[in-house]
C-alpha cells in the first residue's frame, strides 16, 4: 500500500527532528573540541588555523597539574567511602524492616534535592568552626555526601535483581551468613558495586559548585582550577583540557563496560 504524501512528509520531518535533537545534544562538546585546536589565543569557533599547542600548555600549567592530582585524590577517597557506606545502607534497606526506614532513605538521598552550593556552604561553615577548612578532609566529606545517593541507588538496584534463592541455596549447603555474603552476595553484586563506584568517582571528579566553597588554594580540584583560570584568561587551553576530560572519561566507561557491563567476566546469566 502506497504511503500518502502526508505520511512521507511526516517521516522526513521526524527523521530531521531526531537528527536535530541528537546534534543539539553533542553540539557543546563538538564546539569545544574544535575550539581546542585553534592556533590563535582566543576561544573562537570555528578556528581558522589549527594547532596542538593548547594541549601542551594545559598539561604544563601548574594549577591544572595539582588540580588534577587533587581531584584524583578526592574522587578516589570519596567514591570508596561512599561505596562502603552506600552498600551497607543498601543492604539494610533491601533486606530488613526497621523503624524510620523511609526517613533514613530520604535523608541519604537528600543531597539530590539540596543545591550543591548549599551543601558546600554548610561544610565550609562547619569546617571553619573546627579549623579543618584548609584540608582534604572537608572536601572528601562533602563529596561523599554528594555522590552517596548514586552509589546507594546503583547497589540497591543490583540487590533487587539478585535472586535471593541463591543465598538460600548456599545456606542449605552449609554456608554461614558471613560465607554466603562473601561467596554469593558480594561476587554477584560486583557489577553494581563497580558501576556505583565508577559513577561516584566520575561525579566527584567533575563536581564544581560545592567544591568551590570547600577547597582552598592547596586543595583546589581541577574544575575549580579551571574556573579560576577562565576568570583571568580566555585562551583555548580550557577547551583542550575539556577534550582531554571527555576522552579520559569516555575511555574509562568503555573499558568498564567491556569488562563489567556485558557480564562476560562475571558470567551473569543472560535473560531469556
Amino acid at each position: 500500500m502506497a504511503r500518502s504524501t502526508f505520511q512521507r512528509m511526516l517521516g522526513i520531518a521526524g527523521t530531521l527532528a531526531v537528527l536535530a535533537i541528537l546534534g543539539f545534544v553533542i553540539l557543546p562538546a563538538a564546539v569545544v573540541t574544535l575550539a581546542a585546536f585553534n592556533d590563535k589565543a582566543i576561544l573562537a569557533f570555528p578556528p581558522e588555523t589549527w594547532s596542538w599547542r593548547w594541549f601542551a600548555k594545559a598539561l604544563a600549567y601548574d594549577d591544572f597539574r595539582s588540580g588534577c592530582r587533587n581531584s584524583l585524590i578526592v574522587a578516589s577517597w570519596a567514591s570508596s567511602i561512599a561505596l562502603l557506606v552506600g552498600t551497607a545502607f543498601a543492604l539494610a534497606l533491601d533486606r530488613y524492616a526497621f523503624p524510620l526506614k523511609h526517613t533514613i532513605e530520604a535523608v541519604l538521598l537528600s543531597s539530590l534535592v539540596v543545591p550543591h552550593f548549599t551543601i558546600g556552604l554548610g561544610f565550609l561553615i562547619l569546617a571553619a568552626q573546627i579549623g579543618w577548612a584548609r584540608g582534604f578532609t572537608v572536601v572528601v566529606a562533602c563529596h561523599v555526601v554528594l555522590v552517596l545517593p548514586f552509589v546507594l541507588r546503583s547497589v540497591y538496584v543490583s540487590l533487587r535483581n539478585l535472586d535471593q534463592r541463591l543465598e538460600l541455596a548456599a545456606a542449605s549447603l552449609g554456608a554461614s551468613p558471613a560465607r554466603v555474603l562473601g561467596t554469593i552476595t558480594l561476587p554477584l553484586l560486583l557489577p553494581g558495586l563497580v558501576g556505583g563506584w565508577l559513577l561516584a568517582a566520575i561525579l566527584s571528579f567533575n563536581e564544581f559548585t560545592a567544591s568551590l566553597f570547600v577547597t582552598a588554594q592547596r586543595t583546589q580540584t581541577l574544575p575549580v582550577a579551571m574556573y579560576n583560570y577562565v576568570r583571568e584568561y580566555a585562551d583555548p587551553s580550557m577547551a583542550a583540557l575539556s577534550v582531554m576530560y571527555i576522552v579520559a572519561t569516555a575511555t574509562l566507561l568503555t573499558v568498564a563496560n567491556a569488562y563489567l557491563g556485558l557480564g562476560k567476566v562475571l558470567n551473569v546469566e543472560p535473560r531469556r
Binding site: 538460600l168 548456599a170 542449605s172 551473569v268 546469566e269
Partner: protein
C-alpha cells in the same frame, strides 16, 4: 559420611522405606504452625516421615506445602510446634547447620561458578580437602549421569542438565533429608517424565529421605511412597498413593487427586452396612464419612471415571444420560454424559473400546453402571458442587 559410590554399588537391593516405627522418623513435625501477618499459612501440621521415604506434599498453591518445606529447611521459623530432623529438635538451628539438601524450582545454581564449583560448594563449606572434594564431585555428577561439563557455567547447560547439577549439588553432601520444591515444573513434558523416573531411581538407590512438594497430582501419585494432601494450611490426609486415590478422606482430597464424578444419591443403611443408592444401583461405601448422615438423606457419591461403564443388559443402571461429547485419547476415549438430575456438570466415562465413538454417538441415551467397590460417598453439600 558414607560415599555415594559405595551406596551405588549396592544398587540391586533397592531400599524399601522402613516400617512405620515412630522412632525411625527422619523428619517429624509436631503441631507446627506458621502465620504471615493475618494469614495462617500452616496450622498444626503433624507429620512423620520415615527414613528413606519419599513423602510428597500435594496441594493447590497457597495450601501451605511450601511453607512446610521452608520450615524443615529453616528458611522460616515455626510460630509454634516442633520440628525434628533425625530425632533432634531443629526449631532454633539455622539452615546452614541442618544438613539438608535442597533443590529449588529455579534450581538456583550459582551463575558465577563453574558446574564443578557449584556441586562442590557444600563440600567446601564443610572444609573437605581438595582431592577428596574432586572425587566426590565427580561421583555425584556421574550419579546424575552428567559428566564432561565440569568447567562450564550454569547458563551454558539445558534445563534438564541444570536440574541434574542441582540434584548433584544437593546430594553430594549426603544430606539427612532431601527437599525438592516443584522440581519438574520448569521442564517440558517429555523431559519431565524421564527426569521423574530418574530422580525416583536415584532416590531409591541412595535411600535418602525426601520431601517433595508439588501441585501436580499425577506426579505425586507416580513418585511417592506416601502423600500428604494439603489444603488451606492443613494436612487433610496422609497415605500411600493408592490409599489417597481409592480411600480419600474427604471431598477435597477426592476431587483434587484424580478425575472424579460427583453424583447425587441417597443413603440407605442396612444392618450396619453402609449402602448408597443411585438409580437402580446399590453401592457399598465406607461408613466413616457418613457418620452424621441419616438414612434416606441425600449424599454425594464420588465415582472415578474408570469405575463407570456402559451397562450391559440386565445390569442395574445407576445413571441414565445423554452422550454430549467425546474426546479421543488414543488408548482410550473420554465420553461426557449429561444427566442433570444427578450431576450438575458433565459425567466423565472412560472407555477402552476403540469403537466407543461409533457405539455411543453424540445424543444417544445410555445407561451407566458402577463397577468395582471403590466408590466413596460424602455428606451432600447444600449447593451440589461440580468437580
Amino acid at each position: 559420611m558414607s560415599s555415594l559410590a559405595a551406596e551405588r554399588r549396592s544398587e540391586g537391593c533397592s531400599r524399601a522405606p522402613a516400617p512405620a516405627g515412630f522412632d525411625d522418623a527422619a523428619v517429624r513435625l509436631l503441631g507446627a504452625s506458621k502465620r504471615f501477618g493475618e494469614i495462617t499459612a500452616l496450622e498444626d501440621a503433624r507429620l512423620s516421615i520415615r527414613r528413606g521415604e519419599l513423602m510428597t506434599l500435594l496441594g493447590p498453591s497457597g495450601c501451605g506445602k511450601t511453607t512446610l518445606l521452608n520450615l524443615v529447611a529453616g528458611f522460616h521459623v515455626a510460630d509454634s510446634g516442633e520440628i525434628e530432623i533425625d530425632g533432634k529438635l531443629v526449631n532454633d538451628i539455622p539452615t546452614y547447620k541442618r544438613e539438608i539438601g535442597m533443590m529449588f524450582q529455579s534450581y538456583a545454581l550459582f551463575p558465577h561458578m563453574s558446574i564443578a564449583d557449584n556441586v562442590g560448594y557444600g563440600l567446601r563449606m564443610r572444609g573437605i580437602a581438595k582431592p577428596d572434594l574432586k572425587r566426590r564431585v565427580a561421583e555425584a555428577l556421574s550419579l546424575v549421569r552428567l559428566t564432561g561439563v565440569e568447567e562450564r557455567r550454569p547458563h551454558q547447560l539445558s534445563g534438564g542438565q541444570q536440574q541434574r547439577v542441582a540434584l548433584a549439588r544437593a546430594l553430594v553432601i549426603s544430606p539427612k533429608v532431601l527437599l525438592l520444591d516443584e522440581p519438574f515444573s520448569a521442564l517440558d513434558r517429555n523431559l519431565r517424565a524421564s527426569m521423574q523416573i530418574e530422580i525416583k531411581e536415584i532416590q531409591r538407590q541412595i535411600g535418602v529421605t525426601t520431601i517433595f512438594v508439588t501441585h501436580d497430582q499425577g506426579e505425586a501419585l507416580s513418585l511417592s511412597d506416601r502423600i500428604a494432601v494439603m489444603f488451606e494450611g492443613r494436612i487433610r490426609q496422609v497415605g500411600t498413593p493408592d490409599e489417597i486415590y481409592r480411600r480419600p478422606a474427604d471431598r477435597f482430597v477426592a476431587s483434587f487427586v484424580g478425575d472424579v464424578n460427583v453424583l447425587r444419591g441417597r443413603l440407605d443403611r442396612v444392618d450396619g452396612q453402609t449402602i448408597v443408592t443411585l438409580g437402580a444401583a446399590r453401592i457399598s461405601v465406607p461408613r466413616e464419612p457418613l457418620a452424621r448422615v441419616q438414612s434416606g438423606d441425600r449424599v454425594d457419591i464420588f465415582v472415578r471415571p474408570e469405575q463407570l461403564r456402559f451397562a450391559n443388559a440386565g445390569e442395574p443402571i445407576a445413571v441414565e444420560g445423554t452422550v454430549a461429547a467425546h474426546i479421543y485419547q488414543g488408548g482410550y476415549v473420554n465420553l461426557y454424559l449429561e444427566a442433570p438430575e444427578v450431576c450438575t456438570s458433565r459425567i466423565l466415562v472412560r472407555s477402552l473400546e476403540p469403537d466407543a465413538i461409533n457405539r455411543w454417538p453424540t445424543g444417544a441415551r445410555v445407561g451407566v453402571s458402577i463397577a468395582g467397590s471403590d466408590a466413596m460417598a460424602f455428606e451432600a453439600e447444600p449447593a451440589p458442587q461440580s468437580v
